[in-house]
Symmetry: C2
Subunit: 197 residues, 2 copies
């Protein structure tokens, strides 16, 4: 039963990635998963419930990249570079799998559903704030070591970095070229300048 639930979420994620959330119907998910509608509605009473589960799974995956990069024994800005490298590797892997740069799993949904679905929007805002807060911790560590200008507001600076990740991903998607993301580490360093000499 739990396997069916997880499979429905994974199938939905793939369908949404290859198209958009609006394009994917409950019927599409049932057909792709080989599950009847009764079973799906047992786990997810609505398409929105399924959408919320996709959101959580997407965040779990990005959070996994953040955990792995940020828990490493390395100077703070190197840990940020590790995350940016892992994110870029994820984009390249997704392009291999889907045949086109599908964009950020969280940014895509934020862009698509926020103006229409207050519940999904609110959860996306929480998730993006949590992502930003993770980066802000790195900024604080870097400031404590004297690697980053101590007058920067850590959360605002971190939001700039996350915005750059999101925006450059949109440009990479429009160009269908993951290499657009290669300047991310350089841009992140400019957004987190060293203390004035």
């Amino acid at each position: 039963m739990t396997d069916t639930r997880a499979r429905l979420v994974d199938v939905t994620r793939d369908l949404v990635h290859a198209a958009t959330y609006a394009d994917v119907s409950v019927g599409d998910v049932c057909a792709a998963a080989g599950v009847n509608k009764g079973s799906l509605y047992h786990f997810f009473p609505s398409k929105q419930a399924l959408g919320m589960a996709v959101l959580e799974r997407n965040w779990e995956l990005v959070r996994g990249l953040l955990d792995e990069a940020f828990d490493a024994e390395a100077p703070p800005l190197d840990r940020l570079d590790r995350f940016l490298a892992a994110y870029r590797a994820m984009m390249r892997a997704m392009r291999e799998r889907f045949g086109a740069v599908p964009g950020c799993p969280l940014g895509n949904l934020a862009s698509e559903v926020s103006a229409q679905d207050p519940q999904m929007r609110a959860r996306l805002a929480e998730i993006l704030a949590a992502w930003t807060e993770r980066v802000a911790l790195v900024v604080r560590d870097a400031q404590a070591r004297g690697d980053v200008d101590p007058t920067l507001d850590p959360t605002a600076a971190a939001r700039g970095v996350v915005a750059c990740v999101q925006g450059l991903t949109v440009l990479a998607k429009a160009d269908d070229d993951p290499a657009v993301l290669d300047t991310l580490p350089l841009l992140a360093r400019r957004l987190l300048p060293a203390p004035p000499a």
Copy 2:
């Protein structure tokens, strides 16, 4: 006749802004515009043709903001600030009109259709490259005056600024708060640092 064409494009833009491109059918457009399908198909043989016209109209509007800000008699980085102020004013006005931050008219479409529609993706890539090139001209002017580090690649630096605009707009949409964009001028300055002393 030309009025009908322009009206169909404007009605479609509003419907897409309030929802998504996938959510809007040719029938929805006809109903909202008070036009029958025959008339619509006279101007637009397919939904994609209508989508391409919406794209052009959205670019025309953003290009208008760029023209107005960048043709001003002012130092280059002040011209960039003028554009960022005009963009933020547009987002606030769109929020008033639609009841929620609808996102960037071009970034939304890039995020939604790029992985599915090669023709729209190619045109979006051109438009975003043209936007970036406009910003790159400002960067070059600023470098010539000694306001920006001359070792920066102007196009790559400009792409960082456009990415920041796009990404912060995604975060503003998720937060449904245009004030998220208020840090744009500060972030743009960090992405375009002064020459080393």
